[in-house]
């Protein structure tokens, strides 16, 4: 699997150092540190309420940490807003698909393009030639991506008419329009049928082969095992373990935290990855 993928450099693309975040009395993320490397899909798993989505929001800038730092591509982005991080190449998708419903698929894609020419009153009026050229370039890219995700025939339709699975595809395509350095995927396979989930996984795998770096939150451990290396396990807002799925499957700590078992386990795994998948709860808090 990993041999197909792009070369991994030693410098992490994103680094979280001692991140903590509380909501009222609830400590969602506690002193959490992790790294993700270019060219890899880093998996983020854990039971419901483990703090995965909060951690993703902290990385993306949608939430500000109470303490700790986020370093991205050589920048300390801790105090940056999400839109500032996005401009550096840090783009996220959402756990629940968020299409811009009363805009066409193409318009959704053009928002993903992050081409800022013509987006102020002055530039809209004075810089018309420039934004027309850029818009044409972005449109051609949007068409290519919509074709890749089998959405081209709906390009001029409103996004609100899409099925749940198509919205997932659009969300991924729209994120790719930004040409992100790092893509944060929050349960991209949630709520879609198994066939489409595997189609989506194929897309994710292919994108990674093309060099796209990602952090992926997912409950379907078979898919995590197929796509991600390394995998980071979160429990109670902290990093519990990290490694390949096969390594984690042998970890007693991980099994305890993920399945809520209290008995100690031997070096031989008590449960297999597929059993983990069956018992893991779906949908995140």
């Amino acid at each position: 699997m990993s041999s197909d993928r792009a070369d991994v450099s030693t410098a992490p693309l994103i680094q979280a150092v001692g991140l903590s975040k509380s909501f009222g009395g609830v400590r969602a993320v506690q002193n959490c540190s992790l790294e993700a490397y270019p060219g890899k899909i880093t998996g983020l798993i854990g039971p419901n309420g483990a703090g995965k989505s909060t951690l993703l929001a902290l990385l993306a800038g949608a939430e500000r940490p109470d303490s700790g730092k986020v370093l991205f591509d050589g920048h300390d982005v801790t105090r940056m807003h999400d839109w500032q991080r996005a401009r550096l190449g840090l783009v996220r998708t959402f756990q629940v698909s968020r299409p811009l419903g009363h805009m066409t698929l193409l318009e959704n894609m053009l928002i993903g393009a992050m081409d800022m020419s013509g987006e102020t009153f002055a530039k809209a009026f004075l810089n018309r030639k420039q934004w027309k050229e850029n818009e044409e370039r972005d449109l051609i890219r949007a068409v290519e991506l919509l074709e890749r995700f089998n959405l081209l025939r709906l390009a001029n339709d409103y996004a609100e008419i899409l099925s749940g699975g198509q919205m997932r595809l659009l969300e991924l395509a729209r994120a790719l329009m930004a040409s992100p350095k790092l893509l944060l995927l929050d349960e991209p396979f949630a709520g879609v049928n198994p066939s489409l989930a595997h189609e989506l996984a194929d897309h994710v795998e292919q994108l990674n082969r093309e060099g796209q770096s990602m952090i992926l939150i997912e409950h379907e451990l078979n898919l995590v095992g197929r796509l991600c290396d390394p995998v980071i396990v979160l429990a109670n807002g902290s990093v519990l373990a990290s490694g390949s799925m096969s390594e984690l499957g042998k970890s007693a700590e991980v099994l305890d935290a993920y399945l809520g078992r209290t008995e100690r386990v031997s070096a031989t795994p008590l449960v297999t990855t597929s059993e983990l998948e069956m018992e893991a709860p779906h949908g995140d808090a």
Partner: protein
Amino acid sequence: MSHYLYYALTLGVYFFVYCLLGLGYNLQYGLAGINNVANYSFVAFGAYLAAVTTLGPSNSLVQSYILGTSIAWPLPLLVGAAAGALTSLVLGFIFLLRLRHQYQAIVTLVVAQVIWLLVGNNPGLFNGYNGLAGVPQPLESVVNLAPVPYEAFFVGITALCALLGFAFMRRVVRSPLGRVLRAIREDESVASCFGRNVFWAQMSAFIVAGTMAGLAGGLLVEYLGAWSPSGWSPYEGFVVIAALIIGGTANNIGAALGAFIVPVAIYELTGFIPPFGPVNAQTIDAFRWIAIGIIVLLFLWFRPQGVLPEPRRRFRLVDRILVGQEPIPGKGLFLSQKMHGSDATSVVTDETK
């Protein structure tokens, strides 16, 4: 006969002024998704500032006000527009930084009421509840026209402002700026996570809309010759909101249509119905408010998109690809002129190049 013509021209002034107001409100509410119920406060500040820069120095025996001076037309109009912009800039920090949805609407309503009370209860500002009167009409002595021709002249001024506003908004809607504002309206988190500074995008739309409202206020006070708090109560702002809901949100032609239906056909036109039998002027006034309320309610129930819905933008490039044709380099961006079935009224056409 000249009475009827004068009356028609009066309605023409109101129509074009409300077009300008509707287009500005369409920018902030229809496109940028700002729930501002205080829109008439910007009209009021535009009107007051245009008035005090026309009236000359204050004479406290007659009426007292601040900044009294007399500058040549059309500078008072520009001062009114600037007043609208400045008011928007200040209030924008209150309305746009942290407030969203119904909370935003409630706060704008409260702020509008506070401003109304402050202006009314501080006679030193703009002569309190008595308001300002005796504002001369623009270029009256220069053009030296009889009442009806002058009325036509004033219709021309307002029509020019409305047309400029329409052309401006047409460009905004068809530019990437319009697309970003609509994206913010649909889901600001998405716009933000794709690199858009939501606050400043909304703030810029809010300021431009405030500028248009301030200009409309300047036109109104120059036409009416007087301005007082009774003329800009929160009810007046409701007329603009109702016009956009009925005409069609996020549709510039819809904004103009709404300006004809609500402020002109329902609000102003019924004001000229003579009292008859038990129906006096107050009864007519009450019934027109009831009528506007009922019509808005019916639209929100049965046709929330308004008479003319928001146009759906199709890209000809994709239309060509879908029918197996090669896109034409340099021509691909034109929005399609094709109209499809029930979408016929909602497909935008673009011949802007």
